[in-house]
Symmetry: C2
Subunit: 497 residues, 2 copies
């Protein structure tokens, strides 16, 4: 039930008058639908779910919530993997899937304006006749919404060359948590002064809600080469990744899948012809305008991966084979469902030079905690996805999964990396934030958030841990602090008097 | 003299004890040196100039200023073109040129950490032995500092392919205006949560001072082709630019110079062999890893520019000729000094599809106001630099220059562009901000600034016009407001009761 029930009932009545009562959902089975997103370890029912039918209805709804001081969580398709679209229970969820109109496509200036509920792949479908597409391509792109992508600053395989969501958003019309509507950035040019679009993208719904999103479109590449390279060891595959990147080449995508992933994909309807005896495979895609240029780069990649021990390199013969190679990669998360009822898709970053060692370390952590880890990830930018298979009905197994996750995070940070590359902090990573940010920096993040949302009504409790370090360790009487030690950050533990 | 003299004298004594009295400058001739930057229409003497010798001295100096509530302006080499490093008179200037150490170069992870006073080109010189360079290359790169680049989010010719400063900054250690030291971002990976590095870069010194800057390094390209194409009309050259960009090719750089620029360069010691009978020339550079790939792209560019009417296309035969072509381009601003005692280097952006028309319009504005405009600019990203030659000793001419500038800004905004691409808002553009942002958005910028600097001590009066619209028109009883009109912004004028 909603917090502050009488006030809340009044607010919901007012909102029902705005959006229509059928778009205010409160039945337990309905609330259950919105109690989770793609993070299997988080499950809390909202107090109510509102599905506004237009930008105007959304803004008026936010104004009612603001007036009554009721916290809310904006939600797209619920495909997020960090629990960012799930509250801590009792909030109002604003589900934006009905705001799904593409408002404008401007092929000459290569931009489009969409409502937040537009599904990612729909925009590329709509712009394809103009020879353009929307480049960020999360694996969930057939379901996830561009509004959710903006909230989490989503990535995808082709973000290696083209950049993550923040590189593609030009202008945002947003509604702040107090109901005020505001335009950030500029569709017509680069940002200047404080980059409010940049700070809004990736703020995980804690700064307000994007009501209209103007994005860059990118020309469809005229020439493409997609290579599949297979390796007898994960270490060789990692070293090949480092070798390609060190050469200065920027492939459109450079993905790695380990044996577990290859095998579940090949056992599934998404079988892509990956060699099932490989310890790891790489998918390397080169694209560009001039056919001869792309062919020359592909030849250079083939030379490099063979020099690093690739057993075989196969180029997709045609668009159909290319689509098949990619479908296997993008559906790997689904295929991993063959191994267990639940899958925790982890997300972390390491410097690319640390890839060979960190994959060994992840393997050791899996063995230590007795969990199954499968790796399918954006190797080209050092963005790991160590996926842990488990059964959420077994509480002891859940504990082992959470401990293994924490160990992986700590290992990545120790290797000079960070706790998320593209899935966001959400509720899953909030307690890891003090691993990489000191209390002052976290306070600065919170201060900026409060410039947009003084009452902290929008997705409360996300991104910045309110009790910072104390919350992290959970040890009473002890504080863990991150301090600067020369050029590095170091963790210290303080026992309080 | 400093505002609030007694307090200020006390503060300067305390600062002299920190930095040494020879690094506190107050003699009129010394202050005069810091009364301008690269914007010729702004000249105001600071109250005092402090030149701290280390990060520690800088932080302690800021603490003294904060304690006494004394406003300050941080300054690098003073090459900025928007008056961003010049106060409104009486502030303390913190000149950071002594903080010029490269603290760390990490070739394996392709990053470097520098102090803010490191000269841009010095970093690339230091990293060249590792096959790496710092990509953002403002024309002033032999003088400007990386701290100043961070403040203004500086660009440069090669930012077309490689991105402006904000794409290259990984982590910032900053001192906030209250003296607190803070780390923003992460050297080890991508940003997540609110992107505090992104919002700090380009905040023009109004959020605090970067004390240590960790940047990305980019591999030196192994293969380069530099083409010079010449045209009988500016319109054809502009259409060629649009044609190259429309093809999907991303040259490393795509620069245009008009006849005025070509001629002054050819008359100077930087003569580069540009054809002096051309109405405009383009410099197009392609770079990459595979020689054959770059050659194929260069051939495609040549085909495209010829199809758009290029009279001739010449490829630099060797590194020496390439350097000469670039030197002419980068020294064009200096060479324009041949035309007049002063030069206003303007900066605006239009959608690339609007380039042909806007250059006609700029020509018409020059004729209308009787000023000489020379164009040398980053055509590939639609970033104009219409440079106005004038004599600052003639007040009537200065007025004409300012009116022509305003007309150019309005034309660019009307064409769907913005008021600055890379030089920042500074003091020159602050009154144009309401042309592109409505009062609520400006208020949001100010709110974010106040999260970092509640007392507004850091570079006061920059970026966000405090009286917003009222300041813009200067019409008493009238307000100009920018409103949304469907997908576009429109200006309206309101007469207040």
């Amino acid at each position: 039930m909603l917090k502050r029930d009488a006030v809340a009932r009044q607010a919901l009545d007012a909102i029902a008058a705005i959006v229509g009562s059928r778009w205010v959902r409160q039945a337990p089975a309905e609330l259950e639908t919105f109690a989770s997103d793609g993070l299997p370890t988080r499950h809390t029912r909202p107090g109510a779910v509102i599905l506004p039918g237009s930008r105007d209805e959304l803004i008026r709804t936010v104004r009612v919530l603001a007036h009554q001081g009721i916290p809310f969580v904006a939600r797209g398709a619920g495909t997020g993997l960090s629990g960012g679209a799930v509250g801590d229970g009792g909030e109002v969820v604003l589900a934006l899937t009905r705001l799904n109109r593409i408002l404008a496509i401007d092929p000459a200036n290569r931009r489009a304006t969409v409502e937040p509920g537009v599904v990612n792949v729909r925009l590329s479908e709509a712009t394809r006749p103009h020879g353009l597409h929307y480049a960020p391509d999360p694996s969930s792109q057939t379901a996830c919404t561009i509004g959710g992508n903006v909230a989490e600053n989503a990535g995808g395989p082709h973000c290696l060359k083209y950049g993550v969501t923040s590189s593609h958003v030009l202008e945002l019309e947003v509604v702040l948590p107090d109901g005020k509507s505001l335009v950030l950035g500029s569709a017509g040019g680069e940002a200047w002064g404080p980059d409010l679009v940049g700070v809004f993208v990736g703020s995980e719904g804690t700064f307000g809600i994007a009501t209209r999103i103007t994005v860059r479109l990118v020309p469809l590449p005229r020439a493409v080469r997609t290579l599949l390279a297979d390796f007898a060891s994960i270490r060789q595959a990692s070293e090949a990744v480092s070798g390609v990147i060190a050469s200065g080449l920027v492939p459109a995508a450079l993905e790695m899948m380990d044996r577990n992933c290859v095998r579940v994909v090949e056992d599934s309807i998404y079988a892509a012809g990956y060699p099932t005896d490989a310890a790891a495979v790489l998918i390397v895609e080169l694209d560009g305008v001039a056919e001869a240029a792309v062919a020359a780069e592909a030849a250079e990649v083939e030379r490099l991966v063979r020099a690093h021990g690739a057993r075989g390199v196969r180029a997709a013969a045609d668009e159909r084979e290319r689509a098949r190679l990619w479908q296997g990669r993008k559906k790997a998360f689904g295929a991993l469902g063959r191994l267990s009822p639940n899958l925790l898709v982890q997300d972390a970053v390491v410097p690319r030079t640390a890839l060979p060692d960190i994959l060994d370390r992840v393997g050791a952590i899996a063995a230590e905690f007795g969990v199954t880890v499968s790796n399918v990830f954006h190797a080209g930018d050092g963005n790991l996805h160590p996926n842990i298979s488990f059964d959420a009905r077994d509480p002891q197994e859940v504990t082992r999964v959470e401990r293994a996750s924490a160990a992986i995070m700590q290992a990545c940070v120790a290797a000079g990396g960070t706790i998320t590359g593209e899935h966001g902090v959400g509720s899953d990573k909030v307690h890891y934030m003090p691993l990489v940010f000191d209390p002052d920096t976290l306070a600065a993040m919170r201060a900026v958030r409060r410039a947009f949302d003084p009452a902290e009504l929008a997705n409360p409790g996300k991104v910045v841990p309110v009790h910072a370090c104390r919350e992290w360790t959970g040890l009473s009487g002890r504080r863990r602090e991150t301090v600067r030690d020369g050029e590095r950050r170091r963790e210290i533990e303080r026992v309080e008097a």
